[in-house]
């Protein structure tokens, strides 16, 4: 298996999320088949593949967002820092505090900018005083590169921002609870090229503090932002490798076909 060989050659790297034989079923449909994938700390891993290939499904396994979907069943083992996240004793609320998520469509709450960012810290009891929350809000917005644009209108609703600003607000909201891993499900697909460039730049900066997994339809984006790339096809993890390796010298012909635009 390519993935296992890769694992050995990268023994020096720090594995953040370890998946072994992960299967996902939506009712009768077997959506994700026997996925073995390691995600390394402080790197950006991008998941690519044609629509319906299971990349978003895999992403949603990592913070158990699939739990919300009726009839969805996950088997196999996913471990975050060695702890099985599907273990019965694990509280999903704590898991999601450690694994944040940014969605395809910006989804700010219909609250003020401040309350949007402070929402996560509040429910996890991170900031009890106003000044603590102020500090978290400011630093989150600064890290998301949004502070200078919005610092004068923190009491205005988050829904009033432009699409790109909303998405950065959602990123700020996710990093406000200080997660270890951030999952991004096509975070730029609803944005224009300039907003996309800003988000990509942001992703690169965030890598120093967070482990990032990003699902994307744009292969250029995967090439620009990620260190490692995993290619999914029909629910199977076909190939995972260094991004450069995948785009210049893929070992599987399906990967070759997809990145050269022959299908997908």
């Amino acid at each position: 298996m390519a993935a296992v060989e890769q694992l050995q050659s990268d023994a020096a790297r720090d594995t953040k999320v370890r998946s072994r034989d992960v299967n996902v079923y939506y009712g009768e449909i077997h959506a994700l088949k026997h996925v073995d994938l390691d995600i390394y700390a402080n790197e950006v891993t991008s998941l690519i593949g044609p629509s319906g290939c299971g990349k978003s499904t895999y992403l949603r396994c990592l913070n158990r967002m699939n739990d919300v979907i009726d009839g969805c069943r996950v088997t196999g083992e996913i471990a975050l820092d060695g702890d099985d996240i599907y273990d019965k004793s694990l509280d999903v609320v704590q898991l999601r505090a450690r694994v944040g998520m940014v969605f395809q469509k910006p989804n700010p709450f219909p609250k003020s900018l401040f309350d949007n960012i402070a929402y996560g810290p509040r429910i996890h009891g991170l900031g009890t005083h106003k000044d603590e929350l102020d500090e978290i809000v400011q630093s989150s917005l600064e890290r998301a590169g949004l502070w200078n644009e919005v610092k004068d209108r923190l009491d205005k609703p988050g829904t009033g921002l432009s699409g790109g600003q909303q998405q950065r607000l959602c990123i700020a909201r996710a990093i406000a609870v200080n997660p270890e891993v951030i999952l991004m499900d096509e975070p730029c697909s609803a944005l224009d090229p300039i907003a996309t460039a800003k988000i990509e730049e942001l992703i690169d900066e965030l890598r120093t503090n967070f482990t990032i997994v990003i699902v994307t339809h744009s292969m250029q984006q995967a090439a620009r932002v990620s260190q490692r790339t995993a290619f999914f096809h029909l629910g199977i993890l076909v190939e995972v490798n260094e991004t450069e390796q995948i785009f210049t010298n893929p070992s599987d012909e399906r990967t070759q076909g997809y990145i050269t635009g022959r299908f997908g």
Partner: protein, 460 residues
Amino acid sequence: MAVFVLIVVLLALSVVGYYMGRSRSVAVVDGQPSRLHSLPSYHGLYVALWCGLPAFVIVVAWLIFEPVIAQSMLMNNLPPKAETMGDDQLSLLVTDIKNLAQGNIVSGEVDPALQAAADSYAGVRDIGRIAMIVVGLAIAILGLVFGRKLIHGDLRARNQVERVLNIVMIIASTIAILTTIGIVLSLLFEALRFFARVPLTEFLFGLEWSPQTALRAEQVGSTGAFGAIPLFAGTLLITVIAMAVAAPIGLFSAIYMSEYAGPKVRSFAKPMLEILAGVPTVVYGFFAALTVAPFFRNAGESIGLSVSSESALAAGAVMGIMIIPFVSSLSDDVMNAVPQTLRDGAYALGATKSETIKQVIFPAALPGIVGGLLLAISRAIGETMIVVMAAGLAANLTANPLQAVTTVTVQIVTLLVGDQEFDSAKTLAAFALGLVLFIVTLSLNVVALNVVRKYREKYD
């Protein structure tokens, strides 16, 4: 009867016109419909409209104006003794003549002069009716021939038919609007007549309601007092009780339905709840009066409270049950309309289900929920049957829910039930109350719909 037959014949002629127009249109282009500007069926409708519409308009106009003309001919032709009569007697005489002409019973003796007037009136009506039928049919046939003649290949039949349909739709909606305006105006004018007798301030701020006025001059104790505050207070009390029942039950059931219930429970429970809205209010009324009110009275007695057998509590509680579906159904819809992405966003931050509902979904849906509550309130204020049966008639000014109170709607009913003279302050008071009720519920509805619309703009 003759009019009915005429309408049927006109319809039949129009159907004939439709087929004639359709075949004619195909014929003028030598059987090649593709050369027509409009489809053959539009040509058919075009001829049918030419045939039916003018004739129909003429018949309707005739039906409206012919009695007026006949009456004025009758007035010119009255027996000589009418010259000296007053207005009342004159109108009685005219009614007598009309009744005689139609073979009904008349008041008093039939003298030859009256008989002659009646005969000539009947003659005028007969001629008028026959003329209407003849003219109607003639215009229909002329229209048929004329419309058929107009057909040629380039005729824009579709555009013209559609323009006619457009006008018909505009007229239909105008009728609805005009009816509303008419109702409001009649309320307004009658209310103004009331306020000419009872000052507006006394009506709005008076503390005593006792609408009995004296029929005879020497009657005692029936001078009438038209202070509506006790009614407003009673309405408010019952509405507050009803909302105290409906708002929590409705909201919690809506939250359960939209967020917790599985699809199976939901598909069963939601229609069951909505059945509550389908129960006739009169059934709620006797449920309140015969079951709930005695229950409250007995329960009160057993703990040493004196509860009136017609209490605001019983009426309000049952009304609350009735409006639960308004609250729950609307709130459920708005909460379902909150986008799934917002829920996902909250879950992904580690919020639990109840935190998500309390802090994200409920605030997002709040404008819609408030709109639903306001609609329920306006429904509660305007509700009549339950309070008529269960709340009582005594206009007590009290905040005690265990006593009998009365409401605006109850008083309107009691003021107008039975034989009444329609120019006493007592009956006119009903219009004033109705006007107040109308203004209150209308403004509540306007506010509620605006709130709901604002909310809709946000997520659609």
